[in-house]
């Protein structure tokens, strides 16, 4: 509770709302003790005095010469009391109905909820007006009307909670122990729904104050001479032009009350919503923020795509997660480079950094360069990056259901990929889309074009994802675990397809995976990542046959072998380190059986005779 309050008051706006509301509440509580004139005593010789004009009438007087300040405070008192009473009544009856419906379920629930739905089919004021029409104007009747109108809201919310509770074990246990329904409801159900009722009340009490004020404003609520804020405003309307202050004073008070309740309500909601605590609700920008501390040193071009000392971090509050801690990679035309590592090793972030697709905030590229054909993409800005995305470097993502747009047809998604880069007619784009579907060997491509993603199987969706990546004949394709979500036979087909495409079109492929089998099948070279850095690199066969880094060796040992007979799979003990708190030296040292003191001291370089390299002081094999 105190943590909740702390969170609530860290929100400055919510705190402001609490202070304003508290001040108003305090003021109306002590109103009878204040030296104020009687709010209902008329004095027509003192009509329409302006604020601060006459002593004894701080806010002036109204059309009957009554003191506005006194009327304001007493009116606020009345409005708050009525609004609060309406909230309590609505909460009481609404919750009772909701609990009965949710607890008994079946027919009872059905009938009650039908009725509630009917009530909710009304615009609220029609119902309120009908009730006032039947009962006659008056504050009490307005209160009843407002409460009645809000009953369905409580009934529906509380029913939802109760339905869940009624199915729980402790309710069953209470039933078995022979308790009556009423006792179960009062002792087992009610305590559990009470917090929800209170929260629902706190979010609706502002509304109810406003609604009763509204009815009074229409002349259907409080009757003269007693006034609440609404009827004050209603009476003042006639003199709006000649004496605007009589309208402004009560109007501003309603505004202040409603706003402070809104602010407080927002604060409560935010404090209760755990997603906001982690700051995860911010949206990613169009391109990852690049904030490099110094100039990037020049380097000779090694491949079509060169990553040079790339560092990508996530800044969450005061914490810095070094997801990618200085990665050098290159891939040549027609070559397939595999990047392998456990989840969280930074391989996906490395790949996404290439085209500035790391979610930002919180992602920041803090150092290094990404060179496409010798040209640094990170210093080029969004405009140029946008033009290269899909045109020069294309992506294939992991889960094709989540990565394809759910509401666009396949043909629209493919055509858009083309038309984002080339001015072609819709007809041409469609033709080309059809070719693309044929190229990725989708049966019945004509009819598939008209499909939505949810109408296709996982394998088909991933083919569409690949077709989309091929749309503009890119030179580099980055495939981020494209087969992880697929079953084995489909996976084999997709891999074969990618391999063919690479050979036919001379594509450079960066293939990210955690599966050595896939790497062996497809990749010319492989880079092993651990805790954001490359720990070993070399031609696939060499690395698989003779791993140099203890981590690589252990990782390969984890792979079950088909037909290899039963053997114990050597899981690596421990967990990868958290990248916001990396140990000095080798990040794998704490889990490594060969680690010595030197491993935990100072920077260890990635060393070896090209094409092989390893980041280890005591490698398994000399490279």
């Amino acid at each position: 509770m105190s943590a909740f309050l702390k969170l609530l008051f860290r929100n400055r706006l919510a705190a402001m709302g609490a202070v304003v509301l508290g001040a108003i509440l305090l003021l109306v509580l002590v109103t009878p003790l204040l030296p104020l004139p009687d709010p209902n005593v008329t004095d027509t010789s003192q009509r329409f005095l302006r604020p601060f004009e006459a002593a004894g009438h701080l806010l002036g007087t109204d059309h009957l010469g009554r003191d506005l300040l006194a009327r304001l405070l007493y009116g606020t008192r009345l409005s708050l009391a009525v609004g609060f009473a309406a909230a309590v009544i609505a909460a009481f009856f609404g919750s009772a109905i909701g609990i009965v419906a949710g607890y008994f379920g079946r027919r009872t629930d059905n009938i009650i909820m039908r009725g509630v739905d009917m009530l909710m089919a009304f615009p609220y004021i029609l119902l309120a007006l009908a009730i006032v029409a039947a009962l006659g104007p008056g504050l009490l009747n307005a209160l009843i009307a407002v409460a009645a109108v809000n009953i369905p809201f409580f009934a529906r919310n509380i029913r939802g909670i109760t339905v869940g509770l009624a199915a729980r074990e402790f309710v069953d246990a209470a039933k078995l122990s022979g308790k009556g329904h009423l006792r179960i409801i009062l002792t087992e159900v009610l305590p559990n729904v009470l917090p929800v009722i209170v929260i629902a009340m706190s979010t609706t009490v502002g509304w109810m104050i406003l609604e009763t004020a509204g009815l009074s404003f229409l002349g259907l609520g409080s009757q003269p001479p007693v006034a609440d804020l609404g009827s004050m405003l209603g009476e003042a309307r006639a003199a709006l032009i000649t004496a605007p202050h009589t309208s402004v004073v009560p109007g501003l008070m309603i505004f202040l009350i409603v706003m402070s309740i809104n602010l407080l309500g927002d604060g409560v909601r935010d404090a209760l919503d755990p997603r906001l605590k982690s700051g995860a609700l911010s949206r990613p920008r169009s391109m990852t923020r690049v904030d490099r501390k110094g100039p990037v040193r020049e380097a000779a071009q090694k491949g079509l795509l060169d990553l040079q000392a790339l560092e990508t971090q996530f800044h969450v509050g005061a914490r810095v997660y070094r997801a990618v801690g200085g990665v050098d990679l290159h891939v040549k035309k027609g070559e397939c480079l595999g990047i392998i590592g456990e989840s969280g090793s930074g391989k996906s972030v490395t790949a996404l950094s290439v085209m500035g697709l790391v979610a930002s905030p919180p992602g920041v590229i803090t150092a290094g360069a990404v060179r496409y054909d010798g040209h640094d993409l990170l210093s080029s800005g969004y405009r140029e990056m946008r033009q290269r995305r899909g045109e020069n470097v294309a992506y294939i993502f992991q889960d094709p259901l989540a990565t394809l747009h759910p509401l666009y047809k396949v043909e629209d998604q493919l055509a858009e990929a083309i038309q984002s880069h080339h001015r072609v007619s819709d007809g041409e784009a469609r033709e080309r889309s059809l070719e693309l579907l044929r190229a990725v060997r989708i049966p019945n491509p004509e009819s598939r074009l008209k499909n939505y993603p949810h109408e296709m199987s996982g394998g088909m969706r991933q083919r569409v994802g690949i077709a989309m990546a091929l749309a503009n004949d890119p030179d580099v394709i980055i495939a981020d675990e494209p087969t992880t979500a697929l079953d084995v036979t489909v996976q084999a087909q997709i891999l074969a397809l990618l391999d063919d495409l690479r050979r036919e079109r001379g594509l450079a492929i960066v293939f990210i995976t955690h599966d050595f089998g896939v790497v062996a099948q497809l990749c010319d070279r492989v880079a092993v990542m651990y805790a954001g850095r490359i720990v070993e690199e070399g031609p696939t066969k060499a690395v698989l046959d003779a791993p140099a880094h203890p981590y690589t060796k252990r990782l390969i040992a984890c792979v079950p072998e088909l037909g290899g007979g039963q053997r114990e799979l050597a899981a690596i003990p421990g967990l990868p380190p958290s990248v916001d708190d990396l140990p000095p030296g080798c990040a794998f040292a704490p889990r490594c059986h060969k680690a010595r003191d030197a491993c935990a001291q100072g920077e260890i370089p990635l060393d070896g005779t090209p094409p092989r390299a390893v980041r280890c002081l005591y490698p398994e094999e000399a490279v």
Binding site: M118, I125, A133, A134, P137, L218, I241, L407, A417, S420
Partner: protein, 315 residues
């Protein structure tokens, strides 16, 4: 699609019947002798008897309901005693004015609200976002009737830009330009709260959608950012915004009652308030049933729009 619309229309029938039952029951709550209540100080014995006969109050409750329902289905909503004309004629005429006002406000709140929410989300934590959040907070906290009064003070009385009230100028008005001049202030005042609510919801819906994987896919394809926001993201966000628009339509319709009073707009809301104050029960009954029925049909249209937008909804 046609069968879906038909299905929704059929499913509305019990709701519409429920509405008539509820209104009928509320009106049956009138304490004491309804005829006396309706007539007030005009309650001479002849009048009471006439009212009782006219309203069929001498018959049992259930029978009265079905007579009333049957009459309504044939277009007979009874006769307003205070206006001395058929209720339906009056309601239709007034509803026309309300529709112009509330319809304009609804379009305003939908367009401005969604736009503000989208800009706010796209520029999260930026200046535009902070500005919009602030204005929205004010907007949803000002009661519509107070906002209307303040607008009159500023734009009609002080600046003299717009007419104070009414729907047409009394002399020499009556054309479209005149209507629009009269419509600006009430429509804006009425739209304020709903716009704020829609803007808030649109912002959070957009923020939610912008974090999804398919947005990253769109960006990876090289789709221009404007299209990512206004196409890919908004399209999905609309799926959760549209039902709220349906709910807000109800609030706009409700707020119209206050705005019609403040701006002397000759709509159905003002008619209802007058009818309540003159105890013209038949007029209240007819007006409420008619507007509620229109609202139910409007919500069906919202559902249909929703299903058009989202192919995943089974039609």
């Amino acid at each position: 699609m046609g069968s879906y619309i038909l299905k929704r229309l059929v499913s509305a029938i019990p709701v519409l019947l429920g509405i008539t039952v509820i209104v009928f029951l509320i009106m049956a709550m009138i304490p004491g002798d309804p005829a006396t209540a309706i007539l007030g100080s005009y309650a001479t014995p002849e009048n009471v008897e006439k009212i009782n006969r006219d309203l069929g109050l001498d018959k049992p409750l259930v029978q009265r309901y079905f007579i009333w329902l049957g009459n309504m289905l044939t277009g007979d909503f009874g006769r307003s005693f205070s206006l001395n004309r058929p209720v339906l004629d009056e309601v239709l005429e007034r509803f026309n004015a309300t529709l112009i006002l509330a319809g304009t406000s609804f379009v305003l709140c939908a367009v401005l609200g969604v736009l503000a929410g989208v800009v706010s989300a796209a520029r999260q934590y930026g200046l535009a976002d902070k500005l919009i959040t602030f204005v929205v907070l004010i907007g949803i906290s000002v009661p519509a009737f107070f906002l209307g009064m303040m607008m009159i003070l500023l734009f009609a009385v002080n600046l003299r830009w717009l007419p104070v009230s009414g729907m047409y100028a009394i002399y020499g008005g009556g054309d479209l330009a005149d209507l629009l001049r009269h419509l600006v202030m009430p429509a804006l005042a009425l739209a304020a709260v709903a716009t704020g609510v829609v803007a808030r919801l649109s912002r959070s819906a957009m923020l939610e959608v912008l974090r999804q994987d398919y947005i990253r896919t769109a960006r990876a394809k090289g789709v221009p950012e404007r299209r990512v926001i206004m196409g890919h993201a908004l399209r999905v966000a609309m799926v959760s915004i549209i039902p709220v628009l349906g709910i807000q339509a109800g609030f706009v319709l409700s707020g119209a009652v206050y705005i019609e009073i403040v701006f002397q707009w000759p709509g159905v809301g003002r008619m209802l308030v007058d009818a309540i104050l003159t105890r013209d029960i038949l007029l209240v009954q007819g007006g409420v049933v008619f507007v509620a029925a229109c609202y139910v049909l409007f919500n069906i249209a919202v559902d249909v729009a929703q299903s058009l937008l989202d192919p995943r909804i089974k039609t």
